[in-house]
């Protein structure tokens, strides 16, 4: 059974949910969760780019009898997976920074509500 464009639609829906949460929510923690969701959506999209129908995982084990050319033509594309790994690590760094900023903000302002943390304006 082929899924057609359904996984791509899922990635699109996740992107828009993530964007909506970042734009419309007022709680800092929810905004952070929205950014994480957006990141998951983009990672899912990158994953889907490499797929080849009927493809195998790009891992060889000892005792594999498939030739190199057949393996390369039959496995899914491993390059987007490397891109995704890098993106996950970058996202982790960003998340750690955002969470520590949120904690510090709560310490200084006493609230997680974004509408009450508005000292800079103009």
């Amino acid at each position: 059974m082929t899924l057609g464009v359904l996984p791509y639609v899922l990635a699109l829906v996740l992107t828009f949910i993530g964007l909506y949460v970042v734009v419309a929510k007022k709680n800092i923690i929810k905004i952070i969760l929205g950014v994480i969701m957006l990141e998951h959506a983009v990672n899912l999209f990158l994953l889907l780019l490499g797929y080849r129908s009927g493809g195998t995982a790009p891992i060889r084990s000892p005792g594999d009898t498939v030739s190199a050319e057949a393996f390369a033509a039959g496995s899914v594309d491993p390059l987007p997976q490397a891109l995704i790994l890098t993106s996950i690590v970058i996202g982790l760094g960003c998340l750690a920074l955002m969470v520590s900023l949120a904690l510090r903000l709560h310490e200084k302002f006493g609230t997680f509500d974004m509408t009450r943390i508005r000292e800079l304006r103009g």
Partner: protein, 534 residues
């Protein structure tokens, strides 16, 4: 000689990893060893980038992969004219900021961590301008930008944390759009190397996927370059950072990870010959004009010194983007190549000049804050009597940004206005002149309130700033003057190779592509990559 290209990235990265060891003795550890190491690194990088200036374009393959039979597996570092110009700018402003930080950062706790983040930001920026691979640009852009998020929040006071949080969220969203664009480009062409992407894109018809990728890149890198619909983070983030970091952010970060990548993608990857390129040029013209106007209109009413400077950053970046966009539009419409080259020359020259005078302005505002404890224009006054060096440098920088001869701002703005007029955009040329006049008004206000007038009684005992800060500001002031006066001498080696690198956009693909493939397995992988059958 090309072997030394990775050193621009490894050396600051290594120093950035050594620096946290200085905080092992506790968060309040002082000491001069880490700042001295950082300063030495900055000097070394500046010397290296100046030594590289004027060489012909070089490409360096990391790990030597293409010569071992696998053509597109390797990452490349490319140093053409545009990269050389930006390398010199980045490392010069970094050295000056490090010199200034020697005294300024002593007031913060966690000094080794400051230098660690600074060095990592510098390594990231150097790698972005040297990278020949689009995903490498993304990774090192993220490295530099995450370090800058942490540096904006360094003082951990209330406004700084708020500004840093907004900056982090907006920056993350824009980076994710960039990643989306990179994914789309990979799917279309099967390559990540910018030269090979350019080669493949010239053969493709302009499908909606190409437009979407171009749009994602504008959204992502436009936010990093603070172009107008995406500028909202800059007026909060740049004033909240410590003064040398504001100088680095406004002076080089928005150029290295913003304007440089936009130019590189537009001219060398998408190319002016395709319809995407022509549309890209028009988008840049519109965004540049909007940034110019809105930046200066919002700046005129500001009373916080650094916030005013931040809005002017948006406006001046609008100048650069507008000039480059006009050059691209002329090239796309196959008009006169000399007019296009003039417009791009003006834009790139203005980019270098802006790095010089905007950094100097932020350093002067930092000096005023260091001695007087305030950034509010109402509370400052009469500093020319008590802080002669700072006020002299501030005057030089204000005259430069306002476009007064013989300082550097005048020449680059003149070239931009003339080029706009020659290209037929008379309205935009008039707009550029009007915005320049309003910039002058804004800085007359700054000079009146900060330098002239009577000293408020609260500030009557302030003195001049410490020597390293004075030397740093004086160095940038001399640079402002020399960049303006010595244009005929330096343009041939600094700006013109960069202009040529952009106007000959598609030759990037020809010069920097790897050799033909030799190994059969990799040929199969390359040919079947990027094609999805769900």
């Amino acid at each position: 000689m090309n072997d030394w290209l990775p050193l621009f990235v490894i050396i600051p990265l290594g120093v950035g990893f050594i620096a946290p060891l200085g905080s092992l003795r506790g968060p309040r550890a002082g000491g001069n060893r880490i700042p001295a190491l950082a300063l030495l690194t900055g000097l070394l990088l500046l010397g290296g980038s100046l030594a590289w200036l004027g060489r012909e374009a070089a490409v360096y393959w990391i790990g030597g992969w293409p010569s071992r039979g696998s053509p597109t597996v390797g990452l490349s570092l490319v140093c053409d004219g545009l990269s050389q110009m930006l390398l010199v700018t980045i490392n010069a402003i970094a050295f000056i900021s490090l010199l200034y930080s020697w005294s300024y950062v002593r007031r913060y706790s966690g000094q080794p961590l400051y230098y660690s983040l600074f060095m990592i930001m510098l390594a990231g920026m150097n790698a972005v301008v040297l990278s020949g691979d689009v995903f490498n640009v993304f990774v090192f852009m993220e490295v530099a930008v995450i370090a800058s998020y942490a540096l904006v929040a360094f003082g951990t006071e209330r406004p700084e944390l708020e500004a840093a949080f907004k900056y982090v969220v907006l920056g993350s969203v824009s980076s994710l759009f960039v990643l989306l664009g990179i994914g789309l480009l990979y799917n279309l062409t099967g390559q990540l190397n910018m030269a090979l992407i350019a080669e493949h894109l010239t053969g493709l018809p302009p499908t909606p996927a190409v437009w979407l990728a171009a749009g994602c890149f504008i959204m992502g890198f436009g936010l990093k370059a603070a172009m107008v619909p995406f500028h909202a983070w800059l007026p909060d983030a740049h004033p909240s950072a410590p003064a040398p970091i504001s100088a680095m952010l406004s002076g080089v970060l928005i150029k290295a990870v913003g304007v440089y990548v936009v130019c590189r993608l537009m001219f060398s990857v998408f190319g002016m010959a395709s319809p995407t390129g022509a549309a890209y040029a028009n988008v840049l013209i519109v965004l540049g004009a909007l940034s110019m106007l809105i930046g200066v209109l919002l700046a005129v009413g500001q009373w916080d010194f650094k916030r005013l400077l931040a809005y002017h950053s948006i406006s001046q970046m609008g100048y650069v983007v507008l000039a480059v966009g006009v050059g691209a539009a002329v090239l796309a419409a196959e008009g006169s190549p000399s007019v296009a080259a003039l417009a791009i020359f003006g834009g790139l020259f203005h980019m270098v000049n802006h790095a010089a005078f905007k950094s100097l302005l932020f350093l002067c505002s930092g000096s005023a804050e260091y001695t007087c404890g305030t950034r509010d224009l109402h509370e400052l006054g009469g500093l020319k009597g008590v802080m002669p060096m700072t006020s002299g440098c501030c005057r030089v920088a204000a005259l430069s940004i306002a476009g007064v001869p013989p300082f550097n701002g005048f020449w680059s703005k003149l070239i931009i206005v003339v080029a706009l007029a020659l290209a037929g955009y008379w309205g935009l040329a008039a707009l550029a002149a009007v915005v320049s006049f309003m910039t002058l008004l804004s800085f007359i206000k700054v000079q009146r309130y900060v330098l002239e007038g009577d000293i408020p009684p609260r500030l009557s005992t302030v003195g001049e700033v410490p020597v390293p800060m004075r030397v740093a500001m004086a160095g940038l002031a001399i640079a402002c003057l020399l960049l303006g006066v010595l244009v005929p001498l330096h343009k041939g080696v600094l700006i013109e190779p960069a202009t040529t690198a952009l106007t000959e956009g598609q030759t990037y693909a020809v010069r920097f592509r790897p050799a033909e493939p030799v190994d059969e397995v990799y040929v199969t992988v390359v040919e079947t990559a990027g094609r999805v059958e769900p």
